[in-house]
Symmetry: C2
Subunit: 324 residues, 2 copies
């Protein structure tokens, strides 16, 4: 089980390379909402999402021999970029397996960070099977995207910083929500938040049709999504909560905020208009959960994690120019 002190250790490991991303709010938006709503801006993290934290912590924790052999990761795109850039900083070779329909910006950036990219069809092929074969053949260490303790510890530094940044303002959160795919960000964040604010409600934000964490938490066991479904929230379209992450979610997470595609798009526009940051669809689910009233933030101090900003300009302009 991961402890709070593991997250403190990860914070120490990543501090010279990770950005302490700002926690922003908009007085105008707060007035409209009757709440104090903060966005933790992980789109401003290195490689454009929180994934760099876990990737850097995980690769740092390898032995020198493992780092010399290289690392492998499968990822829809943000973990890919995080691993690629962290590997580059540590002089380690990285091979990354990515879905062929991943946003162009994610594919291109992963290559530009110097990683070797292999693509697959996410709807017909198993990334785990292809991945194990590649990793074994090349003697690479697999850096799993969420079901991996060093990764969860690294992502937990998001929660740690939220608490620290609120403390600097003399505040304690009433509610914290993070986007939830496999649950690495949420698991790590929930440990740090719970340590300092045990009464805070913590939420998993998911898009409709990919609400596996929400349903799993309700039922008390891990359930999966219908693989026929599609979502614009490419960053968090995962089959089910992780084996390691789920027990952590069960311990600390209140429940889910399940948002529609229109609610996600609206949250992206609100982030543009009031907060001036670029947020990608999957990363906007937590903000969308609060804005759409899936949890009632009236009179509360609420924090949504904006987990990344790697969105293609064509999709972003389309969303911006067509209010729903």
């Amino acid at each position: 089980m991961i402890s709070y002190s593991d997250i403190l250790a990860a914070a120490e490991t990543i501090k010279s390379h990770a950005v302490r991303t700002p926690l922003v709010e908009s007085p105008l938006l707060n007035d409209k909402l009757g709440a104090r709503l903060f966005l933790k801006c992980e789109m401003l993290q290195k490689a454009g999402s929180f994934k760099f934290r876990g990737a850097y912590n995980a690769i740092s924790n390898l032995s020198e021999a493992e780092r010399a052999n290289g690392v492998f990761a499968y990822s829809s795109g943000n973990h890919a970029q995080g691993v690629a850039f962290a590997a580059k900083l540590m002089g380690t070779h990285a091979i990354i397996l990515m879905p062929e329909d991943t946003p162009k910006i994610k594919l291109q950036n992963t290559k530009e960070y110097g990683a070797e990219v292999i693509t697959y069809d996410r709807y017909t092929e198993s990334r785990e099977e292809i991945g194990v074969a590649i990793a074994e053949k090349n003697n690479l260490t697999l850096i799993k995207p969420y079901d991996y303790e060093p990764v969860i510890q690294g992502q937990g530094t998001v929660g740690l910083e939220i608490i620290q940044q609120l403390q600097e303002l003399g505040l304690t959160p009433d509610m914290v929500a993070t986007p939830c795919g496999g649950g690495g960000l949420l698991a790590g964040t929930s440990i740090a938040v719970h340590e300092h604010a045990p009464d805070a409600e913590i939420f998993a934000a998911e898009p409709v049709n990919f609400d596996d964490a929400t349903r799993s938490l309700e039922i008390g066991e891990r359930v999966s999504n219908d693989t026929e479904e599609r979502s614009i929230c490419d960053a968090i379209v995962t089959p089910m909560p992780g084996e390691i992450t789920f027990p952590i979610l069960q311990k600390h997470v209140t429940g889910g905020l399940v948002v529609s595609e229109d609610e996600v798009k609206n949250a992206m526009r609100v982030a543009f208009q009031y907060l001036k940051v670029v947020i990608e669809p999957g990363a906007a689910t937590a903000l969308a959960g609060f804005l759409s009233g899936k949890a009632n933030i009236t009179g509360k101090i609420a924090v949504a994690v904006g987990s990344g900003g790697n969105v293609d300009p064509a999709l972003y302009s389309e969303i911006l120019s067509t209010p729903t």
Copy 2:
């Protein structure tokens, strides 16, 4: 003349309300440029631009009686929002005169901060004349947008933070550029930067046809722009450098970076893709100046101030979706 210690005093005055905005960089972009290029993110400032700094400092410096009577400002939109929000925080009534063709987002936000807004035609009417009449009639104190010492001192805190944030990274700037309208931001910033980095080159970034500061610095006296011209850089479309700001620019500023509309649009797209922040056209001129090679940043530590992010979504999506 404004001194460095005046800027330190302004920093103290505004610190409990202004955001210490992040200084961001992109490793990928740096690799492409062969430089270390930072963006000072004033779009993340309260009310979406650096203008809040000067406005808050100026209203704080009024007597209680003056604050009770209220304040007046004329502005293309960002100073308007800065004054409106600062006035609101201090319980002061604000009347703001704005051009009728100002971006909707600026007009709407100024009203939402509680200011009373009056519009005029910026191409046929004199805002100074209309303004003096309104201010005198209502016994209001005019908060000038740039030719006003408390405002310049407040804007100078941008430069102070740039220096402090670079120091935290063990760095000193080789080059600093800010967008330049009347020159308040540049004048204040140049005083703070010069104090700590006397060898740094400091630039005024302006759009073509509104390069009054650049030409004035070359000639050694204040010259104006052709009033028939138009620009998408609405925030910095001013007739000529200020009486107070110009001597400061002459003392500390190396010269101008004059950028085309296409270069501005490209800088907005780069900020979207690599830095994940929303930057408005006028605020992107400094970034555009460096990206387009108007000053050679190869091998240098360069800082561009991104002075604001108040841009209408329709224009932003159009710029994002049509690369030039």
